[in-house]
Symmetry: D2
Subunit: 408 residues, 4 copies
């Protein structure tokens, strides 16, 4: 049996009302330095440049995912019945900790460090940190089981489906949360109804009852619109583009010979080896913010320009990517003696609101029809069928300094 906290802990949350914690192991994880570090990592790196209220952190998102998982394992009858007490704790902890390894400005840092945040998450859970000790003290072997869920190597496939599939606690929280903090309405959908229509098929697969299909369609559309309106907003991508240029320049300028000249928190990034957890711990949006301010006074013109652009939000402007637009920017860059390598960014995004089952991945959404048969979502919903068979949206853009836009 897992120890309970001395009283129910409740944290006020605008999205879920309250986050409820009654297990000591969960409470201890929340109070650890590694989890508190997530207060210093924003959920949306870059989108707060467009949506000025989107300052919410991975800390609040992680609590939200935990809360959705907690509700699933205590309110959805099929899940209540299917999971052991230990599995419930494992999956709640996995929900809480699934983003533990995120660095600042996530995508950019994954590119810079060549490491996925999932890898760091599992290292922090298993490599003998405070988190590891909390989990294994609660039950020997718990840390590995939690990491297995995050790695999709858990013995029980339901656990990964709850935390990470195309209809999971992670996505449900972030859509609602990002909608709330950006102030867009696109991300809203009827989570209550989805939870009420969740069932388990064959003991191994989460399914939605047919009567929940409209709510799932709505959720799929919410994702679609959030991608285009928020996650793929060109200004957010411009922010990433400038940051990417900054780090590429730093890597060009520094190496083993002169790494000591670089600001301390960024030194590990140029070492061509995995970061230690102690190094990784220090990389958060506070230390990066400090570093950008310092680098804004750097002697290299490109470094100081890019760092100042990030600090003061003088981002690149954008245009649709065409041979003509690229050529026009190139000419202007040449005229200004600006390096195309750093001053002309390219970014192409594409979004599938839903990926139907292809026989390999396990994240598809399945529907239990009224007649008892089970169908993959795109066979159960005309809307989703149409979306997955219709033309695909993609968006190719180039990014460059605003000053060039006015040149002629």
């Amino acid at each position: 049996m897992f120890a309970k906290t001395d009283e129910l802990k409740v944290l006020r949350d605008p999205v879920h009302g309250y986050i409820r914690v009654e297990l000591q192991v969960i409470w201890d994880c929340i109070n650890s330095a590694w989890f508190q570090r997530l207060r210093r990592i924003r959920q949306l790196g870059g989108a707060n440049m467009v949506y000025h209220c989107a300052e919410h952190t991975r800390f609040s998102h992680s609590l939200g995912v935990y809360e959705v998982v907690r509700r699933m394992v205590s309110e959805v009858p099929d899940i209540v019945a299917a999971l052991s007490e230990r599995d419930k704790v494992v999956v709640m902890a996995a929900g809480l900790l699934h983003d533990l390894g995120h660095g600042p400005y996530s995508h950019t840092f994954e590119l810079v460090t060549n490491t996925s945040h999932e890898e760091y998450t599992c290292r922090i859970i298993e490599e003998d940190t405070e988190i590891t000790r909390i989990l294994n003290s609660a039950a020997p072997g718990l840390a590995k089981e939690v990491a297995d869920v995050i790695r999709h190597t858990s013995a029980n496939p339901l656990l990964s489906q709850i935390v990470s599939s195309q209809l999971d606690a992670d996505r449900m929280d972030y859509l609602l949360r990002d909608a709330y903090f950006t102030g867009t309405k696109y991300g809203e959908f009827d989570m209550e109804r989805i939870l009420r229509t969740l069932r388990i098929e064959d003991g191994r697969q989460l399914v939605v009852k047919q009567s929940g299909v409209y709510a799932v369609e709505n959720y799929i559309m919410s994702r679609y619109h959030m991608y285009w309106q928020v996650y793929y907003h060109p200004t957010a991508r411009s922010f990433e583009c400038v940051m990417n240029a900054l780090f590429r320049r730093i890597k060009e300028l520094y190496g083993p010979a002169n790494e000591e000249e670089l600001i301390d928190v960024f030194r590990p990034l140029i070492k061509n080896r995995p970061l230690s957890l102690a190094e990784y711990f220090r990389l958060d949006e506070s230390s990066c913010g400090y570093a950008f301010d310092v680098l804004a006074g750097h002697p290299d013109r490109i470094v100081s320009d890019m760092a100042g652009r990030i600090r003061d939000r003088r981002l690149f402007v954008y245009a649709d990517s065409t041979p003509e637009s690229i050529e026009a920017v190139r000419e202007k860059l040449a005229a200004c003696d600006l390096s195309e390598e750093y001053y002309l960014g390219h970014d192409s995004v594409r979004q599938n609101p839903y990926v139907p089952y292809t026989g390999q991945q396990d994240g598809s959404i399945w529907v239990r029809m009224k007649d008892g048969s089970v169908r993959e979502l795109s066979n159960a919903s005309n809307i989703v069928y149409s979306l997955t068979h219709g033309p695909t949206n993609d968006d190719n853009k180039i990014f460059f300094p605003r000053e060039l836009a006015g040149l002629d």
Copy 2:
């Protein structure tokens, strides 16, 4: 005439729907480095330790105050008629910029630097910064007029009443905004009705029509509840208490002789002279966050302990302040060889939901009764009369390390 932007700029805001900007001078202020710096200063220093979603910044609050002022000067007929075009721009700019001089973790830094944020605000507006140049380019002398509103020395008393009184754009925005981001409902009130019932008396005094008194009562109660539930929450005060201890310790350890040993962003704080604006610019919650992490490894046991407590949210616990509780903590501190100076915090707060007119200050709320007479709010509302004449709430607390709580 003030230049307009090439098209109406609209920023999505969850509290007001949209922030609308159509004057170039406002748009340029928003895009300045000094204003963008407010993205790195949270609105509620400390309350995000209790309300984990309250990460909203002074940037969004400042935009919100601007928007409320903009609506007042374009939608409230009496104000539309009473103010010149220039006064309207001045008061919108004052609303936008009134918090420009805020430092990180506001109250603590005001104590540490012995300087109010209003002073810095006026310096940034008038001391030849980018802001000064933007304002004075739009109209010579504009910067001083904006600062006059913030200093309450404007020739037109209406301007200060709009931006800073007991019923002003500042308070209206922050109550709604803080309620939204904490997820409490206490801060909600009917701003639309207040705006609709605003009038000007004698050309010099904002008043509310009697039919708006209920909405004002509601607003007063919202403030009251927000103070006790959010702003004066003991955990937020604990955060300030620990930070205060850290800075007192730093000041004790460092002086002119060894200031170079201190982390760079904090050096100006120990120099017993006003900070330069360049020094002040660098003090934001990013650089402080970085500094706390560095100081968590500081050789002084008190510095490292306090900095680590802030970084990892290991705050002090609290108890009602009584001779007995103080004595008990003192004994335990002595037993652990911990200094009372740093490890026993005292904090006393008191809140008046509304301060009636006493003949001196000019921020009272006035009501135009149906018969045309004008009364001060506490004479027009039984509720407010009762509140201002009833017993006063205060709260005296002591703060100390959690470890001591369990000692015996």
Copy 3:
């Protein structure tokens, strides 16, 4: 054991999200003709003349009260532990059925029939109706136990406190619901927090923990504002005033001798005897609406005028009641040859947001302080103390035809 429905029944409700029913006895009550009749009785008789969306019915309010009770008896640990299974069913049924005896335009009809709606409620529950049979089939004697709760004669005082006290499921639902459907924000308060801080003292008295006092203060203020802004809105009172005049005129015109000439649904009202339940069943806002239309063509000038005023919303206007205003209207009435008895209405309202304990009634709110002592709310909250000791609001108005307002 009480039978469950074959599956959980959930009804979408904008105020509570969902209404959840899992007991067959509750479901059967909902589906009875007497309960469905509440669809034809609006919650706010008259206020929809001011707030045009306030068309919500006692049907939805009754479901809402049931839902709040259901949450109390299944989510508040002290209540879960204190009540037997049977008591829980009794109090849920009492919450569901407490308004069953309401007639149309409640206050007016209570005046006209000289009977309180509580009396009808108990008669419908106990006088061998479909409801009686449903309850007693579920468990012999259940109907009487439910009626006892409504009559405040239950053996267990907690049951009446849950359904009917100054902080009960009834008030909590109607404040939230009326706020939602009028579109005012005054009625909102933090029900979740109140539920979380409810405790039972001595096995006999519901109390709120001190940490919930702010939420209770907020609730008290919500009631206060809803009374003045909605329930006591002069236009709603004007509606009641006109309807009252109509019924007084009908009673004057008709009696045993000529009752057959009166429209059928209104005949029982003039018989100076209690109505039979069959007669009462027919009195709803549909039949009244039909009757008003018929009576708008009645030969008596006063009847037809009043009925037309109700149907077409040509209500009386109002003024503060003073000797002068009364005299002025009297003169105009005389000049127009209109009867003061019907064309000059008087109405005086007063509201105490909270009634402290005086030793007799049992509906006061009690607070368990941190030190374990229990205090009556006005001794635990400075706000409530001030409100109950400050000046009282009352509002005396006269009502008269709009045409007179312009006479001179």
Copy 4:
């Protein structure tokens, strides 16, 4: 010039915040008996049987449509510039009055009376009623111009597009309103953004800027989901099915010879001639509610059964329509001696979320692309293209008494 009211009239509305009226002609229309009659006609006939809070009326919807039109003609720059003062009044009045001719339980009564509500609307506006006089007093010929907009025969095509097209004030209000009062979230979309991106092309066609396409997609999806979740909910269709059976039976039983035996309000319905406006005025949901109660005691077994079913909500149950299900119900009906004509209902619905332009109708949605070209929506949105080219949803159901469901 059109006369203004003595002060701005504001009506609180939960959907739009406030409804603002400043023209006397609009205010007079609102206060007319014909418009007040809309308080007695629900917006959703039948859906309140499923969504118990959906009691909102055509009165509030009509005010809402007016408000959306008012905002369009005063806030959308292209429309402000394109329309004359008179056109603005015409289109606001058309928005307010477009549903004036709705009868109770709309679809059923249109079937019973063989007349569309639009016809009645135009008759009420033009046939010398109070409405006609109000409009023509404000400006000679105004009534006809308002009716022309509703009939789509206005000289200015923009006016009908504003009030009645696939993206109009009518649909925008009802989606938001129905979502609010049912408590579903499906109907929400970003009206603010749509309004902000509206433009006029060639002086004759409303278009949406490409940057508003996501908001329009969201609106299309909202409609789609509201149709299936609310308007086409089988329980709402069951309600219509029972009411249809009742009226068919009444028509069978009564004719010129015995029409006096029928309850007065229903007599005009069996006369095989258009109703007079005086007769139509009396047909509202109050008089129908009264009539159902009276008919529940009718000697004809089918009439009394159907009327009682409507009054007490004992609706038919439903099943997918298949040869087998139909045959099974037929057998059971025969066994119970129930007439298939009345006791077996069929209903087939199909919904296109958007109808692309086919060269004839004028209600399509057009998009102004960034390059200045104008495309029909399904050529500008991949989502809408997919929806209009994918498989179509339809739903064929049969309806029959619940008692039969359990037979065997």
